[in-house]
Every structure is written in C-alpha cells, then in structure tokens.
C-alpha cells in the first residue's frame, strides 16, 4: 500500500487534471468531508462530487503546495498553501491551510480542512 502522502497527492493530481472519478475513488463511500471547519460536512461520495463540480466551476489555475506532513497509522496531517483564480470575480485567492485525513485502508474516510475563509491575499491588498 502506498504511503498516505502519496495517496493524497495522487488524489489532488486527479482533481487538478479534472479526473473526477479517479478523485472520488480515493474516498470511502461513507466519506465525511469538512471542506471548511464548522461548515456542514459533506457526507458520501455523491455530495463530494457535487462539491467538486462546483469547485471546478469556480476555481481555475489551482496551485496547491504541501509544505509539511506527518503520518500515523490511520491519519495524514498536512500543512500547505492553496492559490486559485475565482472565475466569478477574476480574483486570485490564496490561503495557507491545514488538513487532517483519516484513512480506512488506502482510502480517505474522514477529511477536515482548516483555513481562513476570507482571502488573506485580498486583505493584504486592502491594507497595503
């Protein structure tokens, strides 16, 4: 079985390549995805697929970097940085994030991301 970071990176590559089914295959059927902490979680692949469709409608030129990671028996932790262009506004959105993925076998069954929903880059521009 591949290490958890390799699985995670493969999943992200599938996402940026627009390979939706491949992305979903990395998740368990009962996936619980908190794409933003305290926002209502997405439960099940069907819901995640709807989210992914929306994400792909809105986000372009995604640049997702992993700066640090750690693994335990059933969990992957990552710190990273995400940038994308919001196609609704043309604005470049950027934020650091932390993600915690719980695995069952080689699939992700729980996933929670932490980040500032407001765009820090926008805030910097406003204050600069």
């Amino acid at each position: 079985m591949a290490d958890k970071l390799t699985i995670y990176k493969s999943m992200l590559e599938a996402s940026t390549a627009g390979e939706k089914q491949k992305f979903l295959d990395f998740l368990t059927d009962d996936i619980e995805y908190h794409y933003h902490v305290t926002t209502r979680p997405l439960l099940g692949k069907e819901w995640v697929e709807k989210f992914l469709n929306k994400y792909n409608e809105i986000c372009a030129d995604v640049d997702l970097q992993i700066h640090r990671h750690a693994e335990t028996d059933d969990c992957l932790f990552v710190e990273g940085y995400e940038e994308y262009t919001d196609l609704r506004t043309g604005e470049r959105v950027a934020h650091p994030f932390a993600g915690v993925m719980e695995f069952r076998g080689d699939k992700i069954c729980k996933w929670r991301d932490y980040f500032e929903m407001n765009n820090p880059k926008q805030d910097q521009a406003a204050s600069g």
Partner: protein, 130 residues
C-alpha cells in the same frame, strides 16, 4: 518515556497552562525564541506577544476549556485538533475550532502553527469592542 510519550506529556502540560492562564508555566514550556504563527495573518508572534494574547482572551472569556478532537505525536512534536470554548460577557457560549502543529526541541516548544478561521473569533472581538 519515549519521544512520542514525552511530546504528548508536554502537550498535556501546555494545554493545562493555557487553560489556567498560568503565564509562568507557559513561558517555561516555550523556548525563549519560540515562534508562534497563525494562518490568518501569517505573522510570527514572540512568546511574550503570545502571552499577551492569552491574557487578553482570559480577560474577556470565562470558563475557558479545550475540547481535544484529536492529538497525535509526530517525529518532532505533536499536532492537535481542538475547540476552544468559553463564555462571553453576555453569557453566550463561545466556540472556536482550530488545528495546531507544535514542534518540540529539547523538551520545549520551539514553534507552534495554528490554523483557524477568524470568523469564529468575531463574537469575542465584538464583546471586547463593546
């Protein structure tokens, strides 16, 4: 104790110290040049500035406690998902979920990265402003 057990023991001490606002204990747990970083401003805080923030929070929030969602040792420290809870001056409950990644060296915290959404701190900031 092995490294993982030592890291988790330090995590317990740290959480007890910040829950009790035990400034001396917090100062003792941090290395003097520790860097505390938050995702929302991407700025590095010194230990003393972090202690000022801690005392500011304790001055405005009662019954502070932390619900630990998950804590795991990692080779150079630990990471933790938690919810900071407390009671606002109005009596309303406050809750702020966060994820912290803590780096430990020689038995002290040398770096702490905390990720949260400041939208969850708004009730506290509003209470402080009123």
């Amino acid at each position: 104790m092995n490294d993982a057990e030592e890291h988790l023991a330090l995590a317990e001490r740290y959480m007890r110290a910040i829950t009790d606002c035990d400034v001396e204990a917090v100062r003792d747990i941090y290395a003097p040049d520790a860097r505390i970083w938050h995702n929302f401003d991407q700025a590095v805080q010194s230990v003393e500035d972090n202690i000022k923030t801690l005392t500011w929070i304790h001055g405005r929030l009662r019954d502070i406690r932390y619900d630990i969602v998950r804590r795991e040792p990692i080779p150079d420290g630990f990471y933790q998902q938690h919810v900071r809870r407390g009671r606002l001056p109005s009596g309303a409950e406050f809750a702020m979920p966060a994820c912290a990644i803590v780096k430990i060296d020689n038995g002290r915290i040398v770096a702490l990265d905390e990720y949260l959404d400041t939208a969850h701190t708004q009730p506290l900031r509003a209470a402080a402003a009123s």
